[in-house]
Amino acid sequence: MRNTTGLKALLGLLLTAGWSTTLAATISLAPSLTTVGFNETFTVDLIFDFTDLTSPAYSGGTLISFDPTRLTFVDFTGAAGATITGPFLGTVGSNSTVMVGIGTSLASGTLGTYTFQSSGIAGIADLSLTDSNPLGGTFLDGVGKVFTPIFNGTSITTVPLPGAIWLMLSGLGLFGLMHRGRT
């Protein structure tokens, strides 16, 4: 039997593009603030980069998952040029989820913007981003090929309200002036 390894490698290179692509495609969360105060509202953009792909007309489902004791979902607004379905709220285990279906003919840009509010618990709140389907593979390109984007979530650090900090610093500063005055 002839050795077909080399041929298979060549054909894999030629034919992979016609089946499931391995070119890079990313969907990322970009928060307006990475450190927020208690009960502070902030936004998170849903950004995509499919410039490595060759068949514009992309669609798929995204799922954000977060700890509801640290963050509260407020809203999602689609960007110009994007077709949006949802948001659809749900739960996975103890986490809350927000599913948004997206469709776009652009190669890159912003698909939409989430609005969240932090809670009164200090610490790090994770926002994970995944395919909306547990089995993955909801993303299709313009010729009906499945592709799997790289999903990049983000984290938000919640600290005591900025106003409280300034109040505290102001109080410390006033105390210092008072102490200097006495001495």
Binding site: L15, G18, V146
Partner: protein
């Protein structure tokens, strides 16, 4: 005296018979029957040469197998033809000369010189059995690739196959290889996912999810399809391995009725179908069907890495490949299709499973396609 006459009679018969034989008189079957009968009764009364001669004569006649009426004899039986490379061994199908093809020759099934794996069981003029079974006019019919994992390559030699495919027109479930030994039965609770773009159908039961994407085909107002192609996936949610997940592509539809086919045949219609294959969308497929008294089809598949052609008869709603009509680079395999829809809106769903000779290497091509009619 009696003993003497008896000996004389036997000797005389033996002498007569041997003389007759030695003199070249042709013994007919009756003579041989009498000789052998005499020999059976009294072996010493008949010369052994006569017995052997009759045995050889009767054995040769029993091996002279006449072909069934209408089936030609092996042309390589001609002593002159035995020197041809095409006649090295009696083959049912002669090897093609110089890249060309010859029509297959059918030998009698019970020809003892015929290799058991070479004789055809399909006498000329009789229908060819489609590799994946016939489609029923007016009923759903389709084809799919099936492979391990969620990104199964149609030509993955580690386990990809082409198999029949069935789907509920409302897409609440599907079955890959129904009744076959590779059968995959989806969950029966598929629902359309609320995602823009090509319709996606998903359903989870326990740890198993089934999915189906329709990448070609539009649902009717009630959400049902009469033809569709796309991707299917099925397997474990929590332990996704190559062994407990399966996937592939499919092409499916409601087969045309025989009234539709009869009408097209009566009108001697020529219909051309063209489009991209579902698995490898780089492959452009073209199929032309010539309806008439003997409906037939021809097709070609063009990919940046390969190209091949095929053809064959139309049997009912089935398009069946004729090995004799493959392009020279096709080593083996088959093409099968089904005519879908009505006369004013037909399509062809089909599958290819061929091994090509690509520069001395074997290239497996497995794929499905749903082709609309083109002007």
């Amino acid at each position: 005296m009696r003993l003497y006459l008896r000996i004389l009679a036997v000797a005389g018969c033996a002498l007569f018979l041997e003389t007759s034989f030695a003199g070249g008189m042709a013994l007919n079957d009756r003579d041989c029957a009498e000789i052998l009968k005499q020999w059976a009764a009294d072996p010493a009364s008949v010369p052994q040469s006569l017995v052997d001669g009759c045995r050889e004569k009767l054995t040769a006649e029993s091996l002279d197998i006449k072909p069934a009426a209408g089936i030609p004899r092996d042309p390589c039986a001609d002593p002159a033809a035995a020197k041809s490379i095409h006649c090295w061994g009696p083959w049912a199908n002669l090897a093609p000369a110089g890249g060309g093809t010859v029509a297959p020759i059918v030998l009698a099934k019970d020809d003892p010189d015929l290799r058991p794996d070479e004789f055809s069981t399909q006498p000329p003029g009789e229908p060819v059995t489609p590799a994946l079974g016939s489609c029923t006019p007016g009923a759903a019919c389709g084809f799919a690739t099936l492979g391990p994992g969620l990104e199964a390559q149609p030509d993955d030699t580690s386990g990809s196959n082409v198999v029949p495919f069935d789907m509920d027109p409302g897409v609440d479930h599907y079955v890959v290889d129904p009744g076959g030994n590779r059968e995959v039965v989806s969950n029966d609770n598929l629902q359309r996912a609320n995602i823009p773009g090509p319709p996606r159908y998903e359903g989870i039961t326990g740890d198993v999810e089934s999915k189906l994407f329709v990448t070609r085909g539009a649902p009717a107002a009630d959400g049902s399809y009469d033809r569709a192609s796309g991707i299917w996936r099925h397997g474990s949610l929590t332990n996704q391995t190559q062994t407990n997940t399966r996937s592939g592509v499919f092409a499916w539809g409601i087969a045309s009725t025989m009234d539709t086919i009869d009408g097209l045949n009566a009108g001697n219609v020529t219909a051309t179908f063209s489009g991209r294959m579902t698995g490898y969308t780089d492959t452009l497929a073209d199929i032309t069907v010539n309806f008439g008294s003997q409906p037939a089809w021809t097709g070609s598949w063009q990919n940046p890495a390969y190209a091949f052609a095929a053809g064959g008869p139309v049997q009912g709603v089935d398009l069946v490949s004729d090995p004799g009509q493959f392009s020279a680079n096709v080593n083996s395999g088959f093409v099968q299709g089904v005519l879908l829809g009505t006369a004013n809106n037909p399509s062809v769903a089909h599958t290819v499973d061929v091994i090509l000779d690509s520069g001395g290497n074997a290239l497996t091509v497995r794929d499905v396609g749903l082709l609309p009619q083109v002007p």
